[in-house]
Structure formats: C-alpha cells, structure tokens
C-alpha cells in the first residue's frame, strides 16, 4: 500500500476543490438567472403564475437539498434519463439556489416603499418602466448583501453532491480517508478548504451590509 504524505492529501484535496468552485459557480449563476425570472413572474405575473412560483419556492425551501439531489439523480434514472452526477448536481443546486434567491429578492423588491410605486405611477410609468427605472435599482442595492451571504450556503450545499458520486472537496476527502484511515487530518483539511472559500464571502457580505445601512440609502 502506498503511503500518502500530507502534501499528497492537500494536493488531492486542492484538485478536487476546483470542482467545488465550479459547481458553486454553476449553481449560483444558473440559480441567479432562474431566480430573477421567477422574481419578476412572482411580482408581476398573473395570479396563477404567482401561485405556481410560490409553490415552487415553498417546495424547494421545504425539502432537504439532499433529497433534491437524490431525486435529480436517481429519479431521473427511474424515468429513463441517463444523467451524470454532474448534470444532476448542477440541476438540483441551480433549482435550490433559484428558490432561495427568488425569495430573498422578492423581499428586497417589497422593501422599496410603496410611495415609490405611486410616484412612478402618477408620473405615467407603466409596470415595467417603474420596475426598471425606479424599483429595481433600489431593490438591487438592498439585495447585494443577502445575496452574497447566501452564496456561502450554496458553496456549503455542494458538499452534498458527494453522495451521488460527484467528486468535489468532500467526496475527495472521503476517498482519501478510505485509503489512508486518517479521518481527523483529512476532514480538518476539508473543513479548512470550505472555510477558505466561504469566510471571505461572509466578510464581504458583512462589509456591504455595513456600508449600505450605515451610510443610509442615498
């Protein structure tokens, strides 16, 4: 049996951490795109559309991400689709992220005072014009800190993709442990890896929040 040096462990974890980063980016960018569409539909759409979006958000917020991953991977297989771990993880995390971002952003749009809608309305702006020129620019400023904050949850959520065989940071840790039987060392490094990814984002979110609310919204 080959011996693993600490450097071997770290090197392998670093290589696997790439896929944690890539999967997080896919989930976040995909989730943001879907989430934006959902937010607009939920704010302005017809009543049945709003109702559907709400159901979607409730469904993904009310079930564990782990189950969503299982369903995307094994469920698709049962239905006859041959999906890779990559596809399943990307789809499940994108949908999960979109549901949370939709809810965060709806809150930000609703946080813009109703007087702004009224002012836009009496000046003759229609719904889309009001959204574009008056409401969204203000909602966007409110949305940045919680959105950055949520991206931390997405990164940590990718760890669950390990259970469907997606080799990212956590899965690599498990595999290394099976070979070396040094769980304490390995999972300390794994945890450290997540911390290095997440901590700067948390700090940045906090900084944005202070800057936004401390200075008052101009």
């Amino acid at each position: 049996m080959t011996d693993f040096t600490t450097w071997d462990i770290v090197r392998n974890l670093l290589l696997a951490a790439r896929w944690t980063v890539v999967l997080s980016l896919i989930a976040f960018i995909g989730g943001a795109a879907v989430g934006l569409v959902l937010t607009l539909l939920r704010m302005g759409g017809l009543r049945p559309v709003r109702w559907l979006v709400r159901g979607y958000v409730d469904l993904f917020q009310g079930t564990p991400l782990l189950m969503q991953l299982f369903l995307a991977y094994f469920g698709a297989a049962v239905l006859g689709f041959d999906v890779s771990a990559w596809t399943a993880a990307s789809v499940a995390l994108t949908l999960f992220t979109s549901a949370f971002l939709c809810d965060i952003w709806r809150g930000c749009v609703e946080a813009v005072p109703s007087g702004q809608w009224q002012a836009a309305r009496v000046l003759g702006l229609n719904y889309l014009q009001s959204m574009r020129h008056v409401i969204l620019p203000q909602a966007l400023r409110l949305a940045v800190p919680p959105t950055v904050g949520f991206s931390v949850q997405v990164i940590k959520g990718t760890a669950l993709a390990s259970v469907i065989g997606f080799v990212e940071l956590t899965k690599a840790g498990t595999m290394l442990n099976n070979a070396t039987f040094e769980p304490f060392t390995i999972f300390t490094f794994v945890a450290l890896g997540y911390f290095i990814l997440c901590y700067p984002l948390s700090r940045y979110a906090r900084y944005l929040e202070r800057r936004l609310y401390g200075a008052g919204i101009r």
Binding site: P113, Q118, A119, V122, L123, G124, L125, I217
Partner: protein, 242 residues
Amino acid sequence: MALVSVKDLHKSFGELEVLKGIDLEVEAGEVVAIIGRSGSGKSTFLRCLNQLEHHDWGTIQLADQRLDGTSMTPGELSQNVGMVFQSFNLFPHKSVIDNVMLAPVVVKQTPKSEARRIAEEVLAKVGMSDKIDSYPAQLSGGQQQRVAIARALAMNPKVLLCDEATSALDPELVGEVLRVLEDLAKEGMTLILVTHEMKFARDVSHRVVFMHQGRIHESGPPETLFTRPQTPELAQFIASVV
C-alpha cells in the same frame, strides 16, 4: 365646460364607505382647497382623481375624457394630472435633474436634451437651479418637496393635485413650498390641494371645500366659508384649527 367634473363619486374600502357621493366641478385656472378632519375622505378623493384608487360608483370627467380605470393609460393620465405627495416620494437613487427628467424621457419619449431644458426650466421655477446634481438625501424637506413639484410640472399637466404637501415639513420650511404653490396659482395653474394650512387656503384659493364624513359638507369662497360657516360641523372644525 369644467376642466374637472366629478359626479356622485363613491368609494369603499371593504365595509368602510369613505366617499359617499362627491360632486365637484373645477374650472381651468381655479385653485380649490379641500379641508376637513383626518378620515373625512379628502386624500381618498384626491387619489381617485388620478386613479391611484379606482372609484366604485359615479363619474370623473377630465377635460372631456371620462376616467374609469381603463380609458387612459398612466402615461396619458400623467400628462393631465400631476401629483405632489405629503412624503415627497423622490427617487433616492437619482439626482434632482434625473428625478425631473425621468418621466418626460421614459413616458413622453422626449429627447434627452429637450427633457433637460424642460427640467432646468421647471427647477428654476421652484428655485432649485443650484441643486440639480444633488441627491434627494442631501436636501431639506422643503427643497425635496419643491423638486417633487418640479417633477410633476415637467409633464406639463393640466391640473396639479397636492396631498398635504407641507404636512411632513418642519414649520420653518413650510413657507418656501407654499410660496411656490402660490406662484403657480398666480400663473393660472389649476390646483386642487388637500391642506391643513388654513391661512394658505384662505389667502390663495378661490374656493374652499369642507369635507365631512365622506361628503362635501360645505363649499364656497374662502372669506365666506371661514367667517360665516353655515353648519356647526364647519364652525367647530374652524374653531379647532385656527
């Protein structure tokens, strides 16, 4: 033909009937002050006039056009009726000039250079020429309200509605806003104001309307109304505010 003609206007919020049949005609160039206790329906009436609230019953005619929620788009309506709010409602993320230019550019599709010229003109009229690049948060309440008036004027409306335009202001800032409104009145702008400034209602308006419990209880020239109220309700109201 009156510029604004309201007949038998009714509006309820759920069980609560706020307007119980309002009749009012306003001529072009007329300044009408609406007074009354809070809860008497003044603000709701004003908000029906620009369709921020849709009335349940009765008619509103605006320069030949009947308002029923669908006859005019918000864009067309805004070129007929302007509105100034108690809380200013300036757009905090836009500079003064951008606040004023937004509707002409977006709604009327006025070219930017032309919109800027109009904006500078109306801002000069309210005495805010030196603050065009400031943001609302950098202005006093009185200055913000003057910008809000300019913003409404930029759409060149036929009538300007003011919903307690000075109620949110510190006492020393009320005067500058009232002076702007007075100037507009002198220029022949049609104004319908809900106000608690009795002196202003008395000095500037052509007609005072006293609303009580969802109806127009009494109306007439300010001198008559304030010195010889016909009903005990109005007499009591005047006694309580003067």
